[in-house]
């Protein structure tokens, strides 16, 4: 199983998903993020899915859960870089990703978190 790296930039944890996600990798990312949020006291999380070709119901649910979990650590999550084809597919699948903020790209996500 491949692991998704988490990079600390100021008060933000930046996660760029560059691998073909399998379920265990997403579960591992959730755990790693919880640990990092506690260790770094970061105030925000950016999950960059620019390179992600599909988001299915499991991955979508985990992204929503990461958003809810971060809030318990007093951090806001912004999902950035969703591809148009992924957005169209997610909508048709019936997944709304409620509770997670979104931005078009990492720069706008950073601005949303007030850190630029």
């Amino acid at each position: 199983m491949e692991r998704v790296p988490i990079i600390k930039i100021g008060q933000i944890l930046y996660v760029s998903i560059q691998i073909d996600l399998q379920d265990d990798s997403v579960l591992q990312l959730q755990e790693d993020l919880a640990d990092e949020l506690v260790a770094t006291r970061a105030r925000g999380v950016i999950i960059d899915i620019t390179a992600v070709e599909i988001v299915d119901s499991f991955i979508g649910r985990m992204l929503t859960m990461i958003g809810s979990m971060s809030r318990l650590f007093d951090a806001e999550t912004v999902l950035v870089g969703m591809r148009p084809a992924v957005a169209i597919t997610l909508t048709e699948l019936g997944l709304t990703l409620g509770g997670v903020r979104t931005a078009l790209n990492a720069e706008k996500g950073m601005r949303l978190l007030g850190s630029l």
């Binding site: 199983m1 265990d24 597919t89």
Partner: protein, 131 residues
């Protein structure tokens, strides 16, 4: 035609990659490729989690009217589905998820055929036609 095993999470990723390759070669648009790959991801996970593993087959096909498309077949020898109508309802889940896997996969494809026999396994065939 190659049969792809679905025994691990990595196998699910390989099925997705194979569907993407064939869907692109079959001339599906980027959005239709993404929909088919997403549906395949749901169905491969179902075969793994609920069916105890299975196999997938991906092929380019031609309709009776000469329209090209891509067909993906999933088969497992798991416990099967007792109530098909219930299983295809949005929000119905036995796995603790959102209950969008099977019903969502059906929405993402042009043709969806599910046969299941309790105790004998489940077979799902999905197709997407080139526009």
């Amino acid at each position: 035609m190659d049969e792809l095993p679905i025994k691990t999470g990595d196998d699910v990723v390989r099925v997705r990659q194979q569907v993407r390759t064939v869907a692109a070669a079959g001339g599906l648009s980027l959005v239709d490729q993404t929909k088919l790959v997403t549906a395949a991801s749901e169905l491969a996970r179902n075969a793994l989690v609920h069916g105890g593993g299975g196999i997938a087959q991906v092929e380019v096909i031609t309709s009776a009217s000469g329209r090209p498309g891509v067909r993906v077949t999933f088969a497992d020898t798991g416990p099967g589905i007792a109530d098909l109508q219930q299983a295809l309802t949005d929000g119905w889940t036995t796995g603790g998820g959102l209950g969008l896997g099977l019903s969502g996969a059906r929405r993402l494809v042009d043709e969806f055929d599910l046969t299941s026999e309790p105790g004998a396994g489940t077979r799902v065939v999905v197709s997407k036609w080139r526009r």
